[in-house]
Symmetry: C2
Subunit: 284 residues, 2 copies
């Protein structure tokens, strides 16, 4: 099989914190990142809606030539991963869709089994409603797990307010009374709030992204049929490409350039100029 | 024509602050309120997406027997009102769709012409991108208008944090340096933050909702063909009906009971039990 880039899919900017770790682990690999910023946030959406959005995004990444897609978003990984795998993996294993929930659970359980105590996941409302992280932890060990929803944190980071008093107060409010021996950042936006989490908590705070990257390296070694092409990263966004370029570097820790806008056309995401209409919009 | 209830449509809970004023102005009238909380927030969405959501919501209110629908949401009023009017008003004027942008502009211009100075609208990103409020003000008078986006405030109120330090700090941050003689609350969520706005500003803060209610009373007097039925209010939500009942009373200033869940089925909103799936969702 030909070499192909690795797709990375997220509801917005947040997954760039995962891409940062993937690039550290695989510095020569070519990545195509798709952020669904025009339709974010996903965290409060119904599961069925998320499945539909995820299908479009993953299909776009396959159209870009990717054969492996990493779903960086915990919300999508928690509710839609099995669906995406069943729909797209194919009988010849010509495509693969990987998520972040199982690596996050492995990391947390590894930590709990060496130090004991209770694991807490802080995540979006939809991730928490799914209970998938707890289910995956319990497949590994009989650990105690709490999941807590923090719906405002991802929008707050998207707004660029991660270093404000507001961010610190919001994190403190969400983790108040959380009795845990380790807290897992269960949303790709939260690594930008790591300082606020550490200031508000007495226990270790884990970002699963480096562990996710290590797991991908292992997986690629076990699956040589998915050989990876080399090249600079490419970026696609359903939202404003200029905003993506401007804010994205905070998440990636490196400049973000040449963002391609994609928009929904007849149920598919296709490259399109971004049009922001002024005034009333009247459609036939 | 038969008497009919008045429909009130909003992206979530916020429009209940408008319904509160409508009920004050028309205490015997029957209202049907539809909050699209399951698909909110609208404020960062593309205009085309908002048109599609608005069509479904307005059609549901017509199916509930309404002949007049008040679009309480400033985001929908700013981008989709003309579309909804063109699509649904009908040649025999058997239906009507009314918005909040023109009343808000009338109120602001009236204020500016007696006191002078610059009008500021604080609203969602989509409302500000449309520029519709400024356009409507300029149709009335050559006033100076600034529009400022405050994307986090509606989610913050939906979270129930309107009385926290976080709310005060967020409002202060958004209105910093706003040089205006009057500030208009251009989102139905913001009346719950009125105290924070007044604390952060030296100028009057206007909630258009009472003026919108007065305008509806005038409109009904001029259009006796739209006679209004009497009865207690009914509530529909695309989100969690229990959350709607629990949080809604803060916005309505009165108990909210008997919320009917509606869900998208084949492009229409239909009454449906609310199902929150646990774990992974796999669709055929």
């Amino acid at each position: 099989m030909n070499r192909a880039p690795i797709g990375v899919y997220d509801s917005g900017f947040g997954g760039l914190t995962v891409l940062r770790e993937l690039r550290r682990a695989l510095p020569d690999a070519e990545f195509v990142y798709l952020g669904d910023a025009g339709r974010a946030p996903y965290g409060g959406r119904d599961a069925e809606v998320i499945l539909g959005l995820a299908e479009q995004c993953v299909e776009r990444l396959f159209s870009e030539g990717c054969r492996v897609v990493v779903v960086a978003c915990h919300t999508v990984s928690s509710v839609a991963l099995r669906h995406l795998q069943a729909r797209y993996a194919g009988p010849q294993r010509e495509r693969a869709v990987l998520g972040v929930t199982i690596p996050a659970a492995e990391l947390a359980v590894e930590h709990a089994s060496t130090r004991g105590g209770r694991i807490a996941l802080v995540a979006t409302a939809r991730t928490v409603a799914s209970g998938t992280f707890t289910t995956e932890c319990h497949k590994l060990a009989p650990v105690e797990v709490i999941e807590r929803a923090a719906p405002l944190l991802a929008p707050l980071v998207e707004e660029g307010w991660e270093d404000t008093d507001i961010a610190h107060l919001a994190v403190r409010r969400y983790v108040a009374g959380l009795d845990a021996s380790v807290v897992v950042l269960g949303c790709t936006h939260f690594p930008l709030l790591r300082g606020a989490f550490e200031a508000a908590l007495d226990c270790p705070v884990l970002d699963p992204a480096p562990f996710v990257a290590g797991r991908l390296v292992d997986w690629l070694a076990r699956h040589p049929e998915f050989s990876v092409s080399e090249g600079p990263p490419r970026f696609l966004s359903t939202g404003d490409p200029d905003a993506f370029a401007a804010h994205g570097s905070r998440f990636l820790g490196a400049p973000v350039a040449g963002v391609q806008h994609v928009a929904e056309t007849a149920g598919r995401l296709e490259p399109a100029a971004r049009v922001v209409p002024r005034g009333q919009v009247v459609r036939a």
